[in-house]
Symmetry: C2
Subunit: 257 residues, 2 copies
Amino acid sequence: MVDRSASRGNAGYRAIADALREEIDKGGLPPGSKVPSENELMSTYGVEQPTARRALDVLKNEGLIVARRGAGTFVREFRLYRRRSPARLAESGWGAGGSIWTSDDAERHTSVDSIEITTVDAPDHVAAVLELADGAKALVRRRRYLVDDTPVQFATSYYPEHLVRGTRVAEANTGTGGVYARLAELGHRPVNFREELRARMPRDSETKLLELAQGTPVIMVVRTAFTAKGQAVEVNEMILDASSYILEYDFTSNESN
Amino acid sequence: MVDRSASRGNAGYRAIADALREEIDKGGLPPGSKVPSENELMSTYGVEQPTARRALDVLKNEGLIVARRGAGTFVREFRLYRRRSPARLAESGWGAGGSIWTSDDAERHTSVDSIEITTVDAPDHVAAVLELADGAKALVRRRRYLVDDTPVQFATSYYPEHLVRGTRVAEANTGTGGVYARLAELGHRPVNFREELRARMPRDSETKLLELAQGTPVIMVVRTAFTAKGQAVEVNEMILDASSYILEYDFTSNESN
DNA sequence: TAGTGGTCTAGACCACAGC
DNA sequence: CTGTGGTCTAGACCACTAC
C-alpha cells in the first residue's frame, strides 16, 4: 500500500480533470487564463507527473484547454464565424436578430489562399453524383479560406470537365458572380442545392491544413448543385474547423418535422 | 543511452499511431476487426506498455477505434442515420438519389424515451429569442431519441408558457401532427424556421446520456420556429451523436454562393 | 537559468471478458 | 485462469518559453 495522502489527498486523473472542468464551467478559470501547471497539480493532488498530465490530456481532447510548451496551459478562447446558407433568405430578414449564438458582428477579414486547379479522375462517389461516364474527367478547384489570417476551411469543388473546359471556371479568377454565374452563362444555371453534413475528428492532414488544436472536430459539408433539369453540375466538399463556425440554415415550410 | 532496437526498431507513440491509422485507412484493418493488443505493440515496436497504450489513445481520440476491456481493441463501425431538414423538399424529389453518403435505406426502428415536461425560468439566451418578459416562464419538453435502441439525440424544447398553458403541448402525447399542429390551432402556426449548428466535443453529461465512445463529437442543432408575424414560438436545442448522423439541407435559390 | 509541457522506461496492481 | 485494457508510481531526459 502506498501513502497517497498529500495536500488534497488521492485522486485519479479523471477526478482531477473533473475538478478543473468544473472550475472552467463555473467561470473560475475564464477563457485565456492559465490553468495549474503539471507541477502544481502534482503537489495539490499528491500524484506523479504522468497522472497530472493525463488529467490535462482529458481536457485537451475535450477542446477546453490548449498547452503551449514552455509557457503553460490555458483555457481555450473561441471566435465564431457565421455561415448562412440560403444567404438570400437570411438577408431578407424575417426573425432577424433572433439568433441563439452571437458571432462577431464586426467585419472580419476573410481571404482565400492557395487556389489549385487540376483535372483528375473523380473519386467514385463524386463521379456517380456528377454522372460522369467511365473515363470522363473532373475539373477540381481546391482552396483554403482564412478569417483574420487563420485558416478555417478547406474546400474542394468538382465539375464535369467537358462542361467547363476552356472557360473561366478553369481559371483562378472566375470573374464577377463566380463559378455559378459562369455555369449559368454556359446554360447550366444551378438552382437547387443539397448540403450534406457530418462532424468527426480530423484526419492528420486536416489537422495540419487547418492548424487545429487538439480536441477540435471538423464539419464536413458537401454541397451538390443541380440545374433545373436535375443535373448535378458541382460537388463541393468543404472541411470546416468546427471551433470557428456556426452554420445557419433558414427555411420556410408549411409542414415540417 | 538505451537500446531501442527491437523487432521493428524504435518508434514513438505517434509513429505507432500513424502506422496503425494508415493500416486502417488502407483497408488492412476493416471496420470491426481487432487491432494489435498493447502486448503485441510492445514486442512489435520495442516499447513499454504505457507507450503502446498512448498510441492507441491517439486513435481512440480520433474516433477510429474502440476498446473493450478484457476483449481487445477494435476498428470502429458506423451506422449513419439521415436527418432531412425541410423534409417536404427532400420528399418532392429533385435530384433524388444524388447523395454523397449512403445511409441505411432499410427502415430502422426509431423511438423516443424519457419524455420530461417541466416549467422553468428559461436560460437567458432562450428567453431573449422567445421575447419572454421578466419572470415569464417557459414550458420545457425534454426527450431522448433512439435508433435501433441506441440513443442518438437528446432534445430540449422551450415554449412561452403563457401560450401553451393547459394545452396538449404540455402533455406527453401531443396528438396527431405534434406540437406544431397544436400551435397552429392556437393561432401560432410556425412557418419560418432557423437552424443554427455547431460541432464540439461532448460534455461529460452528454457522453453518458448518448453513450458516446471516446473521440465522438456532438452536433448542436438549435431550431427556432417563427410565426408569419415573426414571433418565435419554439426554441429546440438538440444534441446529436455526430457518429450517427448525416444532416441534409435542401434548398432552392436564384443567387447563392 | 528556471519553469513548463512532451516523451519514455520499468515495473506494479486492478477490473473485466472469454474460455 | 489467461489475456486484455485501465490506472498509477518513480524517475529520467528533452524541447521550448520567458525572464
